[in-house]
């Protein structure tokens, strides 16, 4: 073996990166050799995306060292990364649909002749790189007219046109059909033969097993271990991705479940119109919905709350079928939704706490048909601030100035003042501190004890394991399984969430 083959192409050492309130990466190491496919896997929020952004120059690490061909380098911009031959292909494609394929490939570094764009050169060069990825389209076609799978290949061609030695792919197959995925895998194998290294991020462990030479597992922003090619099995990967204790954080008592408050039969949503969802939640029960990002969980809640149209199926609340044409129908039936995007959908951020808490109940408390009941508004808000321990100088404080946890409590307060029968929560503790988290958990517990049916979506494994009486697992728009409390384990959830069969 030559000396060059022994030094890794790219290596990072003890990389740390923090965002306000969050430690995204802590002393992470990663090495990438020439001509290998390295899969980076981990749960949502394990730090994969942050690490990739650092490699591609989108973000700077707080501390740590990056080496290319054994020489230390500082990658401080996307431009530097490209100069070193590192290209990142985002999960959401970045092609301009209104430009042709050639223009997209050379966007921002168009070859010039006499000061004008040299279209001839673009055409020739584009043809060459497109043939490398086996894509038989004319460079003059509009990028927007290509299928998603083909657009993905154009992105790869674009990376090749800058002579990328490292191509980072962030969940490239998330929106591809299986045929298109197979096509992509062939291209990846072909690139590997040519000595290009690939960092491949995916939640789909099946793909990882098929493609990767080596697997690097991240957990909570730290290295959880590496697997070399002969060690890569579904079970081993899941074991490494989870594998930690659950602290005694969740004060759960089991309640005798009451009547079925929410019954869903054959629900079809616009995100996955071909899938049907059926389940029920009883009074006093806390049901968790697990799954990977994009499994259709948020869309299911939005449809249940009447925000997105329902394509088919029936929804019954306390045995009575309800029609869900708008969120008002859902609210009238006793449903409440704490949405995933707190600032975008849950709060009117520039308004005071009082206006936010009362927003949903204004209508119920109105006087003489149209007038606002200021007294009810004030007493409700005071009650919610006391009951939920919202830390705010006054009810008139603008919500923007509250911390994430207190903002979330304001959203919950808005719904509690409506005394809902079914509470839907979407990632209820995302981005909030540990103390507020625990308060929200105990609140869910209290509500369940009072006979509210609680259905929550979470991507945090601990939360699912700690809080749910029953867990529904979704994968690509369908329910892949239902786990009772005794069947519940991280491995079982991961197995179902990644599309494997449940074997318990």
């Amino acid at each position: 073996m030559t000396d060059a083959a022994e030094t890794p192409l790219l290596s990072v050492h003890r990389i740390c990166k923090s965002f306000p309130g969050v430690r995204a990466l802590h002393e992470v190491d990663l090495t990438l050799n020439r001509g290998e496919v390295l899969a980076v896997i981990g749960e949502n929020g394990a730090g994969k995306s942050t690490l990739m952004k650092i490699l591609a120059g989108v973000q700077l690490p707080d501390t740590g060292e990056t080496r290319i061909d054994g020489r230390p380098v500082v990658i401080d911009s996307v431009h530097t990364a490209l100069d070193h031959g590192i290209a990142l292909i985002h999960q959401e494609l970045n092609l301009s649909g209104n430009l042709d394929v050639g223009a997209n490939i050379f966007l921002g570094r168009e070859p010039r002749r006499f000061g004008l764009i040299d279209k001839q050169k673009i055409r020739e060069e584009s043809k060459r790189v497109l043939s490398l990825v086996g894509l038989d389209v004319s460079p003059d076609m509009l990028a927007g007219s290509l299928s998603i799978g083909r657009q993905q290949l154009v992105e790869i061609a674009k990376a090749l046109s800058v002579d990328a030695r490292v191509i980072i792919m962030d969940e490239p197959t998330s929106s591809l059909s299986s045929g298109e995925s197979q096509r992509l895998f062939e291209v990846i194998r072909d690139l590997r033969e040519r000595g290009v290294s690939i960092i491949y991020i995916s939640h789909r462990l099946g793909e990882v097993k098929e493609l990767a030479n080596r697997v690097c597992v991240l957990r909570d922003g730290e290295n959880a271990g590496d697997l070399s090619s002969h060690e890569i099995t579904h079970a081993a990967m899941v074991q490494m991705m989870v594998g930690r204790d659950i602290s005694q954080f969740y004060a759960r008592q089991s309640h005798e479940p009451g009547e079925r408050l929410l019954e869903v039969q054959g629900l079809r949503t616009s995100a996955h119109p071909e899938r049907e969802l059926s389940f029920s939640v009883r009074a006093g029960e806390i049901v968790g919905v697990a799954g990977l990002v994009g499994a259709g969980r948020t869309e299911m809640l939005r449809a249940l709350f009447g925000v997105d149209p329902i394509l088919g199926g029936t929804v019954k609340v306390a045995g009575r079928p309800i029609s869900l044409n708008s969120s008002r129908d859902a609210i009238n039936a006793g449903l409440a939704l704490v949405p995933e995007d707190r600032k975008g959908e849950g709060l009117v951020i520039e308004m005071p706490v009082r206006s936010n808490v009362s927003l949903a109940s204004l209508r119920r408390n109105r006087r003489l048909g149209i007038f606002r009941n200021a007294v009810a508004e004030r007493t409700d808000t005071k009650l919610m601030i006391d009951q939920l321990k919202i830390k705010t100088p006054s009810a008139e404080q603008t919500v923007r100035f509250l911390s994430g946890g207190n903002q979330q409590k304001v959203v919950i307060g808005k719904w509690l003042s409506m005394s809902p029968r079914v509470l839907l929560l979407d990632e209820p503790t995302r981005g909030i501190d540990i103390g507020a988290k625990q308060e929200i958990y105990s609140l869910m517990e209290t509500l369940a004890a009072q006979g509210v049916a609680v259905l929550f979506v979470s991507s945090e494994m601990e939360e699912i394991l700690g809080m749910s009486d029953r867990t529904l697992v979704m994968h690509e728009g369908r329910m892949t399984g239902e786990l009772t409390r005794d069947q519940l384990s991280e491995e079982a959830v991961m197995q179902l969430a990644t599309g494997g069969a449940h074997t318990a």
Partner: protein
Amino acid sequence: MNKILGILLLLVFVCIGTTLLTDAFVKPFNMQNIVRHSALYGIIGVGVAMVIITGGIDLSIGSVIGLVGCLLPMLLVDRGWSVPKSLAAVMLLSLLIGLTHGLLITKMRLQPFIVTLCGLLVYRGLARWLTSDQTKGFGSDFNDSLRLLAIGKPCSVAFLALLAGVGVTLWCGWRLIRGRSGLAGSDEAKTARWQLPAVGVVLGLLLIVIGGSRFAMGYQIESAGTLVSLGPLDFPAWTTRVHPDAVGLPRLWMTRAGWLVPVGAVWLTVVLALRSPRPIVFPVLLAIAAAGLVWAATTLVGWPDDQFWLGPAWARTWRIMTVFSSLGLLMASLAWLGRRAVRIAGTAATAPLLLTSGCAILWLLGKTPLGETLVPAPLILLMVLAFVASVFLNQTIYGRYLLALGNNEEAARFSGINTDRMILLAYVLCSLAAGLGGILFALDTNSIQPASHGNFYELYAIAAAVLGGCSLRGGEGTILGVVIGAAVMRVLYNSINLIGIPSQLEFAIIGLVILLGVIADEAVKRMAARQSQSPER
């Protein structure tokens, strides 16, 4: 609240500056014209504010005014329709226009800018086609009836002062009685509970005396004709007659209100001296110096042209520059002083400040013939409309929905609010206000050019709303602010004409003042955001 105070200060600034430069400004005739025009623009401003609060825009207002202005005389004069029928017809048309805009924007998801821009072109074209570009008017048949709606003067300022005095006295008196019952809480709260209402009562009683003195001395309201007859019901139009003896008395009382200025000033001084006098020494000295400069500038106004530096050609520029800059300095130092005082002493300073400034304003107004000025009818209409709009925006659930969805439409939708219906409502209200404005503008001018009547009025309305504190991003705005904003626009326009700035510069100056106002507002907002250290971001 701060925003309204800022725009109010701007209005006062331009008014005082213009008064110092020319006597013509406060002449009753001029004041009546300004108020009438401000009220007309205020009406369409209130309408467009509803749309701006949702985050939208309505560019078609001017063309709606043009179309309504052409249709009304056509129906009344050419077709011989009855007054109620014609008014109902044009208001129905405005309602349909608003409904169309709203439906296109909410159901078809078109952009408000495009929809209403097309409206601007369509309605203007229709107006020109319907009239074959012929000038329309009401002739002289309606001078003693319907036109009084726009050009009538149903009462005098003294009467409004009397009404306002009664209102303020009753409101503050009630607050005073209720506040004194429980004297628990901090000193601050106690002060707020009785000092502020007490000062309010004093100022209210003063207003009653000022207005009433005029009313007692031969102030007369009489019927000037029939405004509208609806079957057996006649709505008479009132007009006012002034008894010559009644002119001096309100002025006398306004001058006497000045006696309370030193009382308030001494009170304020004592309050501040008890707390910490040092921080206000500099603003006080600055204010005194600035007052001296203003006095010097007013004498400069009286100089003959040829005594100015750079010669007579520059005389006008010198007068305008010196008056406005010294006045600006004075007002800035007074505002600074007020802010300092409130920050040092809190509500304990607010009461004497209110008394001093309130009485000083009454005293200054006593120097002008404002007390004898008559009130144009559109002002009454605007006051009613603004009151209803304020109640709608602040006291009804729908007003809150509009503000909420203007800030964050998704969050409003997720809270069970039918956002589409609310947006539709906003466009309907805006077009109805434009229709009402169209009727009044037509009655006011009596000579409607189909191609130009109402041109750019939408921009005046939008400018008034923005000056008054509406954010074009939506979710922000007060009705009072919009009304004051409209007044600022008209006063500026009038001032430019009176003090002899070339009228070609009119747009440039109004544009610059609005721009400066918005820049100042943004700067203040950023400063406030930096001061209230947010835990996040």
